[in-house]
């Protein structure tokens, strides 16, 4: 391949290098190639993704109220305003609560289901999953592909006070007891309209939609564990619980921490679920979250500077969460 006189863009002298090195003087056609192949995607990315993000940080320091209004630089005033606002504090508190509960519940459930499917088979002979494993996997994964809006609307139906699936199911035993002579009022709760239940009801909907996805993710990770590891632990007399938590879990720790980060990111967003199930942030703002309040502040009240500040705080929380989780899972590895 050294004698290629016809091509100007000869590959680098190092034949083992996986990539071609662009020489000092690339040809005109190579320049055009780069301009098109790298330039166009980067242009789109910078204009529509990077620049809006950077602008958000700047706007958060201004009193900007729209195109015609003036954007005076007001330093950290917006940040003072939002932290003095009880609704914003409530929204942020809800986001933080979701950030703890959603990953914990979803990932625990997903892990248990994944373990049952993969190493739930007989405890002797080769490691095998439970019968019908693939059917369970295919079924539970499905909600992941549904649009979040659909999940929101679906669960708004389910939680509806009259004609809803949940009250209907709960009333089945009530009806049975009443036929036997008991006198219980049928349940007619508006689950999303009750301060006590609304957030929990929304959490249940999100968990429902995502457990299958993480289950499949964990199943793939567990299958990648060398079978000798599990067999050796079994020979040492490890039962299923110990196998799951002391052998399997440490092996797939990286997947788990990635899952925690993903779930954390979505728990700090939640815009779709909240705005579909409790459109104005719920009774007494019981289900308000930052993203929905930000949307209202920006597009219903035109306080764009203030809204940007809300977003910046949440984005910083998001990054901090990701760094903490990834760092925590790494430091264990070193020990």
């Amino acid at each position: 391949m050294t004698a290629v006189p016809t091509t100007l863009e000869s590959p680098s002298s190092d034949a083992s290098a996986p990539r071609r090195r662009v020489g000092r003087r690339p040809s005109a056609s190579r320049l055009l190639f780069f301009a098109v192949f790298l330039g166009v995607p980067l242009l789109v990315y910078i204009v529509f993704v990077v620049s809006p993000f950077l602008q958000a940080f700047y706007y958060s320091l201004t009193s900007w109220r729209g195109v015609s209004g003036n954007a005076d630089f007001i330093g950290l005033d917006n940040y003072r305003t939002i932290f003095a606002d009880p609704v914003y504090r409530k929204a942020l508190a809800n986001n933080l609560l979701l950030m703890i509960i959603l990953p914990t519940v979803t990932i625990t459930l997903a892990f248990i289901l994944a373990v049952m499917v993969t190493i739930g088979g007989d405890s002797r002979g080769e490691i095998r999953g439970i019968k019908g494993a693939s059917i369970y996997r295919v079924v539970s994964f499905f909600p992941y592909v549904l649009p979040a809006v659909v999940i929101g609307i679906l669960f708004a139906f389910i939680y509806s006070p009259n004609g809803g699936l949940l009250n209907g199911v709960l009333n089945l035993p009530v009806g049975l007891l009443n036929q036997l002579g008991a006198d219980i009022d049928p349940i007619g709760l508006a689950w999303l309209g009750e301060r006590r239940f609304a957030l929990a009801a929304i959490i249940a909907a999100v968990v429902w939609s995502l457990v299958g996805f993480y289950m499949v993710l964990f199943v793939a990770a567990i299958k990648a564990i060398p079978s000798e590891t599990i067999e050796a632990a079994r020979l040492d007399g490890a039962g299923r619980a110990r196998l799951a938590f002391q052998v399997v879990l440490p092996q797939i720790r990286e997947n788990v921490s990635t899952a925690v980060v993903y779930m954390g990111i979505m728990a700090l967003d939640m815009f779709v679920y909240i705005s579909v199930m409790t459109p104005s942030g719920g009774i007494g703002k019981s289900t308000e979250v930052v993203s929905r309040y930000l949307y209202e502040t920006a597009f219903a009240r035109s306080q764009f500077g203030l809204a940007s500040a809300m977003g910046v705080v949440l984005a910083l929380v998001t990054m901090l969460m990701a760094v903490v989780v990834l760092f925590a899972s790494r430091s264990k590895e070193d020990r």
Binding site: M1, V4, E9, P11, P18, R19, R20, R21, V22, S29, V36, F37, L38, P41, L42, V44, Y45, F48, V49, V50, S51, P52, F53, Y59, V67, L113, G120, S123, I130, Y136, R137, V138, V139, F142, P147, G152, I153, A156, I158, P161, N162, G163, G164, L165, G168, W208, A220, A221, A224, R240, N255, F271, S275, V276, L294, Y295, F299, L314, A315, T318
Partner: protein
């Protein structure tokens, strides 16, 4: 758990390695596991089944007897949803926007990933990590300025504006996965192409792109689902009711109708929205789940 171990230890000597009877612990565990898994499967399936068959019932039927199967296979709700509620139009808008964005993001993403994966040049790492960082940017932070970026370009409320925004936000994921794919393709292929006198453009379109087809396939599926389900971007950027995508249309239907009115049409609208993703899922279920493995593209 200790009982399981004990049982196994006791009977362990009596059984031949191949045809061992299942121990009591095994049987108990497997029964419990099946019960749990079946329960979860039912929790997943029942609401979907309920939505599906409710879309054939009248609103009265739904409210009076929410569980009863439909009295007849009535398609009225679907007709109402498609024509009067505007689901037909929303569907058409979604096809244009998602289709356009999908083609564009796959093309641009493959081009960018290819250059980053196969060429060494100054700034390569910076661009790659700048791209990957986009995976972690929260969209809600960007929407306010993005609204004005599109406004200033005269693209707000147009299909093109929405398509470009979709493309921008789908690029990091696309580049990230395709990069790994292009890295694995053997160097000899492109060298052979160069010897044959193929330029960079021809090498990419006629040789590398077909080789990367399996990777392109699974990334396309994930992008299709992601874009079809997109909500925040259209809600902010696409405020013209005639250009609503399905997700927006559904939300506004729900908001207009409140809880009491046309439930049947609402269920039908939801069913219509679910059908395309359900079909994609049924066909590509294997690629979707395979794409999640730790070694992605083997």
């Amino acid at each position: 758990m200790s009982t399981t171990t004990d049982t196994r230890a006791e009977t362990g000597t009596q059984v031949t390695p191949r045809e061992h009877p299942r121990s009591r612990g095994d049987r108990a565990f497997s029964t419990i596991a099946h019960i749990v898994l079946i329960a979860w499967a039912l929790v997943v399936i029942l609401p979907l089944l309920w939505t599906f068959y409710s879309s054939f019932k009248t609103s009265g039927e739904i409210l009076l007897s929410p569980f009863a199967p439909p009295s007849s296979l009535n398609l009225d709700n679907f007709v109402t949803a498609w024509n009067e509620a505007g689901i037909g139009r929303f569907f058409f808008n979604t096809i244009i926007v998602v289709g356009g964005a999908l083609v564009l993001v796959m093309l641009l993403g493959a081009m960018c990933a290819y250059v980053l994966a196969r060429f060494e040049f100054p700034g390569r790492r910076l661009i790659y990590y700048g791209m990957i960082a986009g995976l972690t940017f929260p969209i809600f932070l960007a929407v306010v300025p993005l609204f004005f970026v599109l406004q200033n370009m005269g693209l707000r409320g147009t299909y093109l504006g929405l398509i470009l925004a979709y493309v921008g936000f789908a690029l990091p994921f696309t580049v990230f996965f395709l990069y790994a794919f292009f890295r694995q393709l053997p160097e000899e292929v492109s060298e052979a192409a160069a010897i044959d006198g193929a330029g960079d453009f021809r090498t990419f379109f006629q040789i590398m792109l077909p080789l990367a087809a399996p990777g392109l396939m699974s990334v396309t599926i994930f992008n299709f689902l992601g874009l079809w389900n997109q909500y925040l971007l259209p809600v902010v950027l696409n405020t013209d009711g005639d250009k609503y995508v399905l997700a927006q249309g559904l939300k506004s239907l729900q908001a207009q109708q409140g809880y009491e009115s046309d439930w049947g049409a609402m269920f039908a609208s939801v069913t219509i929205t679910i059908l395309p993703v359900m079909i994609v899922y049924a066909i590509f279920q294997r690629q979707l789940q395979g794409g999640l493995g730790p070694s992605t593209n083997k």
